[in-house]
Amino acid sequence: MIYDPLDIALMLAKIALVFFVILTLAAYLVFAERKVLAWIQDRKGPNRVGPFGLLQPLADLIKLLTKEDFRPIGADKWLFYLAPAMAAIPAIMIFAVIPFGAPLRLFGHTVQLQVADLHVGLLLFVALSSLAVYGVALGGWASNSKYALLGSIRGLAQLLSYELSMGLSLVPVVMLARSFRLSDIVAAQAGCWFIVYQPLAFMIFLISIAAECKRIPFDLPEAEGELVAGFHTEYSGMRFGLFFVGEYLNIIALGGLAATFFLGGWHGPLLPPVVCFSVKVLAFAFLFIWIRGTLPRLRYDQLMHFGWKILTPLALLNILVTAWWLVLRG
């Protein structure tokens, strides 16, 4: 196989761009979360560093980098060091398959605004999100701490359970688009977004990804009221930072995917495609913060029952109904 140097350059440029944008976005999402939460709770939030506190993420970064990096006695050295990376890497890799804009014409080339247009892209996303479990599980286990271990066991059970309903909620999308390729899925929504056909699948997906991100009301693995900080109790400094950033990267990625699967991807009225896509992603991020500001945490058994006894059967039923509908429609 012969590679065109221009293709390689474009690919590298796209990777660099995506990296830069999502890392900045993740940092500012932390800031935005604090601001919005403050707003919901009728207080000011961070406002000392820079104008309106805009330099707060930078200050946080410096703080995390200069903190002492320690490891508990009896901790499993390699796994303890590796786990934060295992949590963050799958989240970053998911961006490879998300199409974030309409194809561009550039130097006589058609440039897909997507790092890799894989023909099993949707499955790659499911695979990567199933790998994200390992960061949580190994981090908590390797810490050699009771709270961390309990948190990671909870995390394992929760992520495993909700991954099922998440995967099942995506099956109707594949059935409608007749492809696993994300660009095909976006193209299939040119006329009508899938949320119109599949509101139930969208709701299931939304709830499941909230659980996958371990966000309130599903933040049992790190429930600070009961487990100190759950699986990352023993982490400090930049390793904790990686877990933290990983969570926000995950929010952005899953927001992007929700937009791609159900809200027409980069399709949208008036605005240019890339902007449309960004608006949808940011709206998702806001939704998550809003939920965090308003909902209480579930009890653990409620969480498992909800996943297994309500979401999964509903998702299966939805697949069945969609299949019948597609068959009858011909």
């Binding site: 196989m1 499993d76 796994l79 894989l118 023909h119 099993v120 499955l123 790659l124 499911v126 695979a127 199933s130 790998l131 479990v133 390992y134 599980a137 190994l138 286990w141 271990l149 990671s152 066991i153 394992l156 059970a157 992520l159 495993l160 991954e163 995967g167 696993f180």
Partner: protein
Amino acid sequence: MEAYLFYLLAAVTVIGTVLAITEKHPVHAIVYLVSSFFSLAAIFFLLAAPLIAMFEVIIYAGAVMVLFMFVIMMLDVGRSGDGLRPGLRQWLPAMLLAGVILALLGMMLAHGGWPAPGAGAAATLRDFSLTLFRQHGVAIEIISLQLLFAVVGALYFGKRRGP
């Protein structure tokens, strides 16, 4: 290029598996095994089976191994010393037997009698789904019923009954 990638991945798979079965702690063994399965999935991808590759990661690395890890953590296996660890007495005969299997397989492979050269084109995703649903319909039914009964069995044994 792809051929080199194959050999690289094959080496990673074998080394990962060897480390997994010689590792004394089950959690480490699982981490090694997951990396081995991951590179095996990449090999499947190279062999034009992207769907199998993805399901290898989703099901094996993402679900089966996680289930193992869940049980290991919940039962706290392996923390209490290595009383379960096999000694050299178990290793030697087992290695002998595995070596014999390997040698026999190698001999048979070297002996030839090769299948006729097959088609050049690989089966596509479309071929896969058509074969699955048109020719092996009953297999899907059997396997789905088996999965259902895996749930039934797991619930039956997992249920907490009165003291």
